[in-house]
């Protein structure tokens, strides 16, 4: 069932399938609509005006018929449900989508994307003369000659067997007018697919494989446009919450490694289903992928026994994984698609961090910078263009919502900002996509802790004030809890509450991160005050209230303009490496210059950890700016 979508004022007309997102349709039509949130309905840059036709709000059944009154919608949150005429306002347009993405990256990272884009696959369309008795050259040589005429750099040119098998019929069906997809292998090129001539774009997959969460984007390799984005919990969760338990599982069960591998593949397959539906393509149309993840996740993806990572001296199988084919890895995209894995410096500081360093441009900055990636494992990088040191700490999956009843994945309906007013005993909040609330994501959980502490609902040790005069303060299963949203106020149909054990998990996570930061800084003998820039990446997303992060003592107390919440830098780095050879080369360069410090060899880590299990910290003098939160804190000076 195809509908006609007309974009004004360009009067570009294109066909669209039922349920296709307007943003994806526009991209396919060659129109660049601004979007920086990966289609999550968060950045609100993709506003368009539907002048007439039938649309459907994303993932809902209700169909809206627009006749007289034009309606403003977000292109990423609106599906096609009939013939439509859409007006694209000037402010929602960008001449070059890659430029728009680049604007949200650090300048050095954006420079890596300098055109032309250089993904691992490229395409060429050639027309050859049909063979005759006088021109009896075989098909492959005929194709090679035509391609090399157009792309002399691609020599030597090889071909995969599956592509060769299809070549004779494809060429004849297409009347010797063919499009080829070629994998760039550095020293040579390899034909991985031949089709009848077409001008469809190539797509690639940028993938962040986290211990608790996988996030992915489908990217138009020609324009750099992100045409679909999604995230899902890692199905490996059933084998353990952290990498250590999973490594043990892989070792202690005869098919453990296979199970863990399959769980990642299954999660990716589920992600692809969602992604491909968003942009109306088939998984086989994805011709390359770039994976960023910690060393254990990459080992499990590739079915490499990860056990040595667990034991001192924590050695991982490979810093650089060679470029592999999707069918070797088991990725359900085009079988011959080349797969690039971000290089990993150590068993506990993986390719996700290399990606983060790329995305934040640490490799090119003069400023002494700190990159803190908050995930199930917290990783910390300190340095600048001249030197970089890194460390990791086990933060636990709390800020990713695992094991916390009122937490959800950072998708539509997740509360990302929240504030509690003790006077009126009410919460105000913002959800992703501005839809009805379903729970809290990482930044929401963090802000919740901060606001509850400010309001005196919890004390510095994170314990509830059970004498509080509020119906929200109650007991369940012998545990105190505080109701955030009553069943009537949220979409889950039950009361959403924060429990005492949840707070303890969150405190442990925040303590591990802060202890990791201070122990690393201590090892390199850099005082906190010297840090010129902190990038807070990972579970908190990019909409975090920085003051709250300092109030809780997750990061050191430095002036807030020096701190930025930067979201998923692992995925951003994977995006860069997917699109640009300079980014892949830079990644190798970064890893070569990154020194890993094992904090488990630093006895002060445990001391720091316990001292950090307090709001904001046992040593209150380290957090002068948090003093204003509670006027009784001046007792430390007294």
């Amino acid at each position: 069932m195809a509908y006609q979508v007309v974009f004004q004022p360009d009067d570009i007309s294109t066909e669209a399938g039922d349920g296709e997102l307007l943003l994806a349709v526009a991209d396919r039509a060659g129109l660049s609509i601004a979007s920086e949130c990966g289609g999550h309905g968060v950045c609100h840059l993709c506003r368009v005006i539907v002048q007439q036709g039938r649309i459907r709000p994303r993932d809902q059944d209700e169909i809206i018929e627009i006749t007289d009154t034009p309606r403003e919608v977000l292109a990423c949150q609106t599906q096609v449900a009939g013939d439509i005429v859409v007006q694209v306002p000037v402010e929602s347009r960008v001449a070059d989508f890659a430029e728009a993405i680049a604007a949200s990256l650090s300048p050095p990272a954006a420079a890596l994307l300098a055109s032309p884009l250089s993904p691992l696959v490229q395409t060429a369309t050639v027309k050859m003369p049909s063979p005759t008795a006088d021109d009896p050259e075989p098909d492959r040589e005929r194709l090679n000659r035509a391609i090399l005429q157009q792309q002399p750099d691609w020599s030597p040119l090889t071909i995969d067997l599956p592509a060769l098998r299809r070549l004779p019929l494809t060429l004849r069906d297409a009347d010797f007018h063919a499009s080829v997809t070629v994998a760039d292998e550095g020293h040579s090129h390899r034909i991985i697919q031949t089709n009848a001539a077409h001008d469809r774009p190539l797509y690639g997959l940028a993938l962040d494989i986290g211990t608790s969460t996988l996030a992915a984007e489908i990217v138009n390799l020609g324009s750099g446009a992100i045409v679909a984005a999604a995230g899902l919990p890692n199905q490996q969760f059933r084998y353990g919450a952290d990498v250590i338990t999973r490594i043990i599982w892989s070792q202690e069960h005869s098919d453990g490694l296979e199970q863990l591998h399959q769980a990642i593949i299954d999660t990716i397959a589920e992600l692809l289903q969602d992604l491909c539906q968003q942009c109306s393509i088939e998984p086989e149309q994805i011709m390359t992928a770039c994976c960023a993840g910690n060393a254990t996740m990459i080992s499990l993806l590739l079915q490499i026994p990860p056990d040595p990572i667990r034991h001192a001296p924590h050695i991982h199988a490979a810093e650089h994984v060679p470029v592999l084919s999707a069918h070797q890895v088991g990725l359900p995209i085009h079988p011959q698609a080349p797969i690039f894995c971000m290089p990993a410096v150590s068993g506990y500081v993986g390719g996700d961090i290399t990606a983060g360093i790329l995305a934040m441009g640490l490799f090119a900055t003069d400023k002494l910078s700190l990159l803190v990636d908050v995930g199930t494992n917290g990783e910390i990088v300190v340095g600048n263009k001249d030197w970089m040191m890194c460390a990791s700490c086990s933060a636990g999956p709390a800020f990713e919502g695992a094991g916390i009843d009122c937490a959800v994945h950072a998708t539509s309906g997740a509360i990302q900002n929240i504030d509690y007013d003790p006077e009126d005993d009410c919460f105000t909040f913002v959800t992703i996509g501005q839809t009805g609330p379903v729970g809290l994501c990482g930044s929401g959980l963090l802000e919740l802790l901060a606001t509850l502490w400010r309001a005196g609902v919890i004390d510095r040790g994170g314990k509830f004030n059970e004498e509080l005069d509020s119906p929200r303060m109650r007991e369940r299963d012998g545990q105190p809890e505080f109701v955030i949203l009553w069943s009537t106020e949220n979409a889950t149909g039950r009361d959403l509450a924060l429990q005492q054990a949840d707070i303890e998990n969150l405190l442990r996570s925040k303590a591990a991160i802060y202890a990791g930061i201070t122990t690393l800084l201590d090892q390199v003998q850099i005082p906190v005050a010297d840090i010129e820039q902190i990038y807070l990446a990972g579970a908190f997303g990019s909409h975090l209230n920085i003051t709250d992060a300092i109030t809780l003592g997750i990061i050191p107390d430095i002036p807030t303009p020096r701190v930025a919440a930067v979201g998923n830098t692992s995925l951003a780095g994977a995006y860069l490496a997917l699109l640009a050879r300079p980014a892949r080369e830079r990644a190798a360069n970064v890893v070569a210059g990154l020194t890993y410090i094992d904090l488990s060899a630093a006895p002060q880590f445990m001391d720091e950890f316990i001292a950090s299990m307090f709001l904001p910290h046992t040593d209150l003098s380290r957090f002068p700016s948090a003093d204003t939160v509670n006027d009784k804190t001046n007792i430390v000076q007294g």
């Binding site: 510095r460 040790g461 001391d607 001292a611 307090f614 046992t618 209150l620 007792i635």
Partner: protein
């Protein structure tokens, strides 16, 4: 050339705390105990002051101990089960400067005595002896939160030391101490950070710093005394270094450790403890003699 002993000037000193209120302060104690005030590490008289020597407290249980070894029970055989008489014996025969009343009978998994029954024993001991009293709960948070307020009220104005406030349970005990003018023991599991956290939490309840005593659960010789010593010493170094939230006097329990009581007490004294809670009269005697030696400025 004469040798000059190098000395160190510390930027801060240990807080003082006074336990017990005499008639002058509105109480009924015949003596009171002031601890703390050290300006240097223990017994370094050449370097600084120890204005208040460490004191010896003795333990009294509010019910007869079960399954304790004979040699330990023997000195108190005639008073077991009668806390007032037991306390009297400690003070009159063994010169205890403080009495610790342990409310073991309140344990919900034991006798499960009511708060009023416990308060009765508190009154009886206050009647029987004139030294200041330390009232120690049974350790069950919920039960302590019922018992301590009633006992605290029964002893209102006597400036007792209520025990113990821990990170997970400090509010009720701090509120009682504020209401009835007592002091509080902040307890931590041998961790200097958690100790400081407890002190901050108590302070944020409005309890002045001179009404907090620190107790870091300790182990006897053969049971990790080295670590206990290092925690006491680190805490004391922090206090002298100017950490206001670790500058309270410290208490150590030696008696219930049973083993090597005098040896353990000696170690803790050198770690900087201000109040020793002891059991066996002979060990008390040894330590009293040792203290006299250590406090004598040569």
């Amino acid at each position: 050339m004469s040798f000059e002993l190098p000395t160190k000037q510390w930027p801060a000193q240990v807080n003082t705390a006074t336990i017990g209120a005499t008639a002058e302060e509105g109480g009924t104690r015949t003596s009171k105990v002031t601890v703390g005030g050290e300006t240097t590490l223990p017994f370094l008289h050449f370097e600084g002051q120890m204005p208040h020597p460490p004191v010896l407290a003795m333990e009294v249980l509010d019910e007869a101990p079960k399954g304790w070894p004979e040699p330990l029970m023997e000195p108190f055989a005639d008073v077991l089960g009668d806390p007032a008489a037991w306390a009297q014996k400690c003070v009159e025969e063994y010169d205890a400067e403080l009495i610790v009343l342990r409310l073991d009978s309140a344990d919900p998994f034991g006798t499960d005595a009511s708060p009023d029954q416990c308060a009765e024993n508190v009154r009886a001991i206050l009647e029987a002896v004139g030294v200041p009293l330390i009232i120690w709960g049974c350790g069950d948070y919920d039960k302590d939160n019922e018992v301590i307020p009633v006992c605290s009220q029964a002893a209102a104005g006597e400036r007792c030391l209520l025990a113990s406030a821990v990170e997970d349970n400090y509010k009720t005990i701090a509120a009682s101490a504020l209401a009835d003018d007592h002091l509080v023991i902040g307890e931590s599991p041998l961790d200097i950070s958690i100790q400081k956290q407890v002190n901050i939490l108590l302070s944020e309840m409005g309890l002045p710093r001179d009404r907090i005593i620190m107790y870091q659960v300790t182990g006897a010789v053969g049971y990790g005394v080295e670590y206990a010593y290092s925690i006491l010493e680190r805490t004391r170094l922090a206090a002298l270094g100017g950490d206001a939230m670790l500058s309270m006097p410290m208490l150590s329990i030696v008696g219930s450790e049973i083993l090597w009581e005098a040896a353990t007490a000696t170690v803790f004294l050198h770690g900087g403890t201000d109040i020793l809670v002891m059991w066996h009269p002979e060990a008390v005697q040894h330590i009293r003699a040792l203290l006299a030696d250590l406090m004598a400025v040569s």
